[in-house]
């Protein structure tokens, strides 16, 4: 188990009802953490359409998580 901080943006923030939370998790990767949080908060977007950043750098969904990481979840983008 590790402790990480999850941060939510836009539609994810509204769905989760918060912009961040501290978590103790068994997830080893960002993808596993998203799976956990999607169940908890009812996120329905597929990972293929979303993005993740770890400690303010865009990351691959398969990136390994370390204790203390801040994991940012981005729903499908819609600029322009």
């Amino acid at each position: 188990m590790i402790e990480v901080t999850a941060r939510y943006f836009a539609a994810f923030r509204e769905r989760a009802g918060r912009d961040r939370e501290q978590l103790t998790t068994n997830a080893r990767t960002a993808a596993e953490l998203y799976g956990e949080l999607a169940r908890k908060h009812g996120f329905v977007d597929s990972m293929a359409r979303c993005k993740v950043a770890v400690n303010d750098e865009l990351a691959d969904w398969n990136v390994a998580l370390a204790a203390g990481d801040e994991v940012l979840f981005f729903p499908p983008v819609a600029g322009g």
Binding site: A10, A11, A53, E57, L58, V77, A78, G79, G80
Partner: protein
């Protein structure tokens, strides 16, 4: 090359002057404006949100890619965040190049990649009082 997230109004005429170069024979700019409807729903206002630091970093990458792929001189992009009204300029792209072909292609590349990759989100306020996050990522 600069990709900027801003909460202040975009001034296309001022930005355009930054594209001037003696080697440039072509200038193409694109402005994305807030439209009064989307998918048949009347839109009253829009709110854009971004993760500014990551957006500017990813945006700078897109501009560098454009510079590498097309024979251009200067490429710039600015995207607004916060509450916008109908007709406001939400995004501006400007490219100068030796010739028009590269300028058009680079401008198109930059706006398309920006819409697909940069962490910016758009929430529409409808005439009905409802709001909705737009899901327009195309890939």
């Amino acid at each position: 090359m600069s990709f900027k997230i801003t909460s202040a109004p975009i001034d296309p005429e001022t930005r355009k002057r930054e594209l001037v170069q003696s080697a440039a024979g072509a200038c193409v700019t694109f402005e994305g404006w807030v439209r009064n409807q989307n998918d048949g729903e009347a839109v009253q206002a829009l709110e854009y949100e971004a993760h500014a630091a990551i957006a500017e970093k990813e945006g700078a990458k897109i501009l560098a890619e454009a510079k590498q792929r097309f024979a251009i001189e200067i490429a710039l992009c600015e995207h607004r965040v916060g509450k916008l009204a109908i007709g406001d300029c939400a995004v501006w792209v400007g490219v100068s190049a030796g010739h028009r072909g590269a300028a058009f292609e680079a401008c198109r590349y930059i706006i398309d990649e920006t819409k697909a990759r940069v962490p910016i989100w758009k929430k529409e306020q409808y005439a009905s009082g409802e709001t909705g996050w737009v899901n327009c990522a195309t890939r």
